[in-house]
């Protein structure tokens, strides 16, 4: 059975060029980049070369890049770090209802520690209204945290407009760009972003490495205190192979961003049109046009998502569910929920995240298999027969 991986929003395989670049840094060049001897010097240079590559992809200065262990850590560092450093100025944070748990749960933690958080709603396409964001600003607002692209639906927020609002009101602006990076152009300068989190394993670098862009001049209390690494913004011995891998992944993303986006969105559109045509009472969740090129979140009424995923899985197709029934028993996704999707539709939401390795044949395969799965499950569903 051919295995088809269409869950690239959850994680990606390490790209071969990335792997090759990392390999020498495990056993041969393993020195601690903070060491002054030969073993440290060779890795120290690699560390800074990787920093430059990350900086280039997002158009910032290398010194503004802080290496982290993952996207979640970057979000936590940005949000808690700014909250602590700017506490004297205010205690209000603005975010949205559809952020990743790394952002939402950081905010909830801060709510327990004297902060007030506004969670902005989204419309039926998962889109945010910038004027209501501006209206939510108070003189106590010290941070705006709005994601660049939503991980479940792929909806792209108007980051440049939000950046302009934040800058106008002189408020720090953090964006979780974990899903956006490598998929759409990201320019921290053009977008007037102050902090931006990325994660390696979503763009062909390995798990265990990420980065946070921190604009020069932005104060930040560290999340991990300790040694002087990362200009005192993140302690801990550098994950050198991972960082080298992240650098190469950023370089590759930079080089083939436009081509990949075109190729993936063409495949994604074919998958989307094919499924909508073959399966009545199905709908796309997310914005029709302002959407990541690789992401399709689709619902099939009357059935439940986990069952669909299991059947897909048994035929070798890896996709995922917005509702994550297995890991979150409270039920459906907070994202689809915030969009006001009908609960039964919401329960069947399936996310396909295309990646470098997917082919047209993969799309054909899903188009062949999935309509039958839906039919089988609908035949079993009490709702379908009523």
């Amino acid at each position: 059975m051919k295995r088809i991986y269409m869950d690239n929003n959850a994680t990606t395989a390490v790209r071969p060029e990335v792997m090759e670049a990392m390999l020498p840094f495990y056993k041969e060049h393993f020195g601690n980049p903070s060491s002054v001897h030969w073993a440290g010097r060779e890795t120290g240079a690699a560390l800074e070369a990787a920093r430059e590559k990350v900086a280039k992809l997002i158009n910032c200065a290398p010194a503004e890049v802080v290496f982290t262990s993952c996207g979640s850590e970057g979000d936590n560092l940005a949000i808690k770090g700014v909250a602590d450093a700017y506490r004297d100025r205010g205690n209000h944070i603005i975010t949205t209802a559809v952020e990743h748990p790394a952002v939402l749960n950081s905010c909830k933690y801060l709510e327990k520690h004297g902060f007030e958080v506004t969670y902005l709603p989204v419309d039926g396409h998962g889109m945010l209204d910038v004027s209501s964001l501006e209206a939510a600003i108070t003189d106590k607002t010290i941070l705006i945290s709005v994601m660049w692209a939503n991980n479940e639906t792929g909806t792209l927020f108007p980051i440049e407009k939000i950046g302009a609002v934040a800058r106008k009101h002189k408020i720090c602006f953090h964006t979780d760009a974990v899903q956006a990076i490598g998929r759409v152009p990201v320019d921290v300068d053009a977008a007037q972003v102050d902090l931006l989190a990325i994660s390696g394993h979503k763009i062909g670098a390995p798990k265990g490495v990420g980065a946070l862009y921190v604009r020069k001049g932005v104060r930040l209390t560290p999340l991990v205190h300790g040694g002087h690494q990362e200009r005192n913004r993140r302690a801990g011995t550098h994950n050198l192979p991972g960082i080298v891998g992240l650098g190469v992944a950023c370089e590759l993303a930079d080089a083939d961003l436009r081509n990949t986006a075109q190729r993936l969105s063409a495949m994604r559109d074919r998958l989307e049109q094919g499924l909508l045509a073959a399966i009545p009472e199905s709908q796309v969740n997310g914005h029709p046009t302002m959407r990541l090129p690789n992401t399709l979140n689709i619902s099939f009424n009357y059935i439940e998502g986990e069952a669909v995923l299991l059947f897909l899985d048994m035929q070798g197709i890896a996709a995922s569910s917005g509702s994550a029934c297995m890991s979150d028993l409270e039920g459906q996704s907070h994202v689809i929920d915030a969009m006001g999707v009908d609960p039964m539709m919401a329960n069947s939401a399936i996310r396909f995240g295309l990646g470098y390795d997917n082919t047209e044949a993969d799309v054909d395969q899903v188009l062949e298999i999935l309509p039958n799965i839906v039919k089988k499950l609908r035949d079993m569903s009490p709702f379908y027969h009523e």
């Binding site: 439940e304 069952a307 059947f311 297995m326 009490p382």
Partner: protein, 122 residues
């Protein structure tokens, strides 16, 4: 994550469907996840002659429904009433902890159907 038995019953669920003019019909909606199961019974001389089900739910819910139907066809109503959720889960070779509640649907909906039969034939 799921046992082979769960996968088998999920992939090829036994006794899916409805029984026209069923002797008893019962239904259960999970309070924790909103999933739903409907059971149809054919009863003769206190013996369950046939069971069919419709399930809106996860893989564990579908497998539990199927396993439940196999366990009770040919049994007396009392034997069917004695069937517990745990027995369904055990017969499936166990369920992962967060999925244990799914097996509840099956025995509960069955018991509702028997109640319905007993009420309409009382």
């Amino acid at each position: 994550m799921y046992s082979d038995k769960v996968i088998d019953h999920f992939t090829n669920p036994r006794n899916v469907g409805e029984i026209e003019n069923a002797d008893g019909v019962g239904e259960k909606v999970s309070s924790s996840c909103g999933d739903r199961m409907k059971v149809f019974l054919k009863v003769e001389n206190d013996i369950i002659e046939d069971v069919k089900f419709q399930t809106y739910g996860c893989g564990a819910a579908i497998a539990s429904s199927s396993m439940m139907s196999e366990l009770v066809i040919g049994k007396t109503l009392q034997q069917a009433l004695d069937l517990t959720n745990d027995q369904v889960a055990d017969a499936l070779g166990g369920l992962p902890a967060p999925k244990l509640h799914c097996s509840n649907l099956a025995a509960d909906a069955l018991h509702e159907a028997i109640k319905n039969y007993q009420e309409t034939n009382a």
